[in-house]
């Protein structure tokens, strides 16, 4: 992985701006923790999508998913990916099996099945992925991963900065040192910040 490039820095700055703006604008006095978290999360997503611009497909999907009123033309289908399956895979395979007499599954078939299953999962994870075909999906996933990483980095810095703030409140938060990527997922549950409530 290379070091963050200049355009990534630009994206980070733009994202930071949008994110802080939207945070400032939301009235978080009257919300519970879950609502606030949802507000933060959606403002982060929207900031990421708007900063990304129109170079990819996923920002539109993200914005449409985040906002209740879809001002954008959504949903729309790409002409390349608008495939209507008349028969399902099972029917096809059953048909083939009837014709073929041998029903041993080769390793290639297993691999293909796995790939298909995982592509479907990936489609669900990348916003706007349902409309894309294989190659575009991979490209969107690449783009999405890059910007997601930038978003995580900015969010982490902001949250660290917020915790370091000099304030009169007794902040009992032990600022967790930035953990490597994989172990952060388990750290999600230990939101010691919740003790402040």
């Amino acid at each position: 992985m290379g070091a963050p490039s200049s355009s990534t820095k630009a994206f980070k700055q733009g994202f930071l701006r949008s994110f802080l703006l939207s945070l400032r604008s939301c009235r978080n006095g009257a919300m519970g923790l879950q609502e606030r978290k949802r507000a933060v999360r959606s403002s982060a997503d929207i900031a990421m999508a708007t900063t990304r611009g129109s170079g990819a497909m996923w920002p539109q999907a993200l914005l449409a998913a985040a906002s209740s009123s879809s001002s954008l033309p959504w949903p729309r289908r790409l002409p390349a990916a608008a495939t209507v399956k008349t028969t399902t895979r099972r029917k096809n395979m059953a048909r083939r099996r009837c014709l073929q007499r041998r029903t041993t599954t080769s390793s290639g078939e297993i691999a293909r099945r796995l790939v298909r299953k995982r592509t479907k999962v990936l489609r669900g994870m990348v916003p706007g992925g349902e409309l894309l075909d294989g190659a575009s999906l991979l490209r969107e996933a690449m783009d999405y991963v890059v910007h997601l990483r930038a978003q995580v980095a900015v969010l982490r810095r902001v949250s660290n900065a917020m915790q370091h703030r000099p304030s009169s409140h007794h902040m009992t938060v032990a600022v967790a040192p930035p953990v490597p990527l994989k172990t952060e997922t388990t750290g999600k549950a230990q939101a010691s910040d919740g003790n402040q409530e």
Binding site: A10, Q13, R17, S22, V40, S42, A66, V152, L181, D193
Partner: protein, 316 residues
């Protein structure tokens, strides 16, 4: 785009060789290792270059958009046997418009790097086509040459090329071989990133009610102003900085905030030096394509006016 003028379509590739030599010298030299012959452009490149091409970092444009998009579209157009929805000034000759017809005569017509296939289709696809419009896919020896399998093969190679790039991107994928496993790693990575976002937003939400958000203006100010390392004298810079309307809580507060912000950054093991410190650019980042942003105003011109008249309501 790389080709402002329509490239000539001479079968004699004399001029093409020179045109292609600087672009693909690196690519062609490492052709031996690449599996897909027609992807020397992407696969043959060293990893960092390939990533640079795809990641929005290589282009000189300051926009945070995907500036290498035209490059990517360019290469994608080359890889696919389906030609030219891409803007090509060259009207493709009728023989090779769209899919490549698999007859030896037309195969011999297109000579990449001076090699002709008139003698026979022995060589692998080493053709890197500099023409953005369509791709001349030469069939390998012993492989089917009808249009369907050509299209299939081109599509598969396109997907394989992108899988290679994804493998570079996702950590821990380079040793894994096979599409299914790589996809699984990618899925895990995306899931972990999304969970991290959830976790961090939970942290932020928990800190929120105690924190005066006006103080965040200082953060923004330090971002937009001159970021010269951990230099903390930017209290006076705030006046010249792009958010003059925001409440300035005092130079001391600002200095403290800035220090903590950057110190928190230095504690990162993964980002040894803050990449934002190295930014000698004073300009606020250019926001392109955000004119249709959800916030209803142009972020790019917010440098001149303050955000006061803005009333943002978080979409529910």
């Amino acid at each position: 785009m790389r080709h402002p003028s329509p490239p000539p379509e001479l079968p004699a590739a004399g001029g093409e060789i020179q045109a292609m030599a600087p672009a693909s010298a690196a690519g062609s030299s490492s052709t031996g290792g690449s599996t897909g012959g027609s992807f020397t452009a992407l696969l043959g490149l060293p990893t960092s270059q390939a990533i640079e091409l795809l990641l929005p970092g290589a282009a000189p444009a300051p926009a945070p958009a995907f500036p290498s998009d035209p490059h990517l579209v360019d290469r994608a157009a080359r890889f696919s046997a389906f030609a030219s929805p891409s803007p090509s000034p060259t009207p493709p000759p009728p023989a090779s418009a769209g899919k490549r017809k698999a007859d030896p005569a037309s195969k011999g017509k297109v000579a990449k790097k001076g090699k002709t296939t008139a003698a026979g289709g022995e060589e692998k696809d080493s053709g890197e086509d500099e023409k953005p419009a369509y791709v001349h896919v030469r069939a390998r020896r012993g492989q089917a040459t009808d249009s369907h399998s050509l299209a299939e093969r081109a599509r598969r190679e396109k997907i394989n090329a992108r899988m290679e790039l994804l493998k570079e991107l996702v950590p821990g994928c380079s040793k894994v071989s096979g599409t299914a496993l790589v996809l699984e790693e990618i899925i895990n990575h995306v899931q972990s990133l999304q969970r991290q976002v959830e976790y961090l937003s939970m942290r932020l939400a928990a800190v929120n009610p105690r924190v005066d958000f006006g103080g965040l203006d200082n953060l923004l100010g330090t971002e937009c102003g001159r970021i010269t390392g951990l230099n903390c004298k930017s209290g006076m810079d705030l006046e010249q900085v792009s958010w003059p309307d925001m409440g300035v809580h005092g130079a001391r507060n600002l200095a403290q905030l800035q220090q903590q912000f950057w110190h928190g950054d230095l504690a990162h093991p993964q980002q040894a030096a803050s990449p934002w410190e190295k930014r000698g650019d004073v300009q606020p980042p250019v926001f392109s394509n955000t004119s249709s942003s959800l916030f209803g105003y142009d972020l790019a011109s917010s440098a001149s006016r303050g955000p006061r008249p803005l009333s943002l309501s978080l979409p529910r």
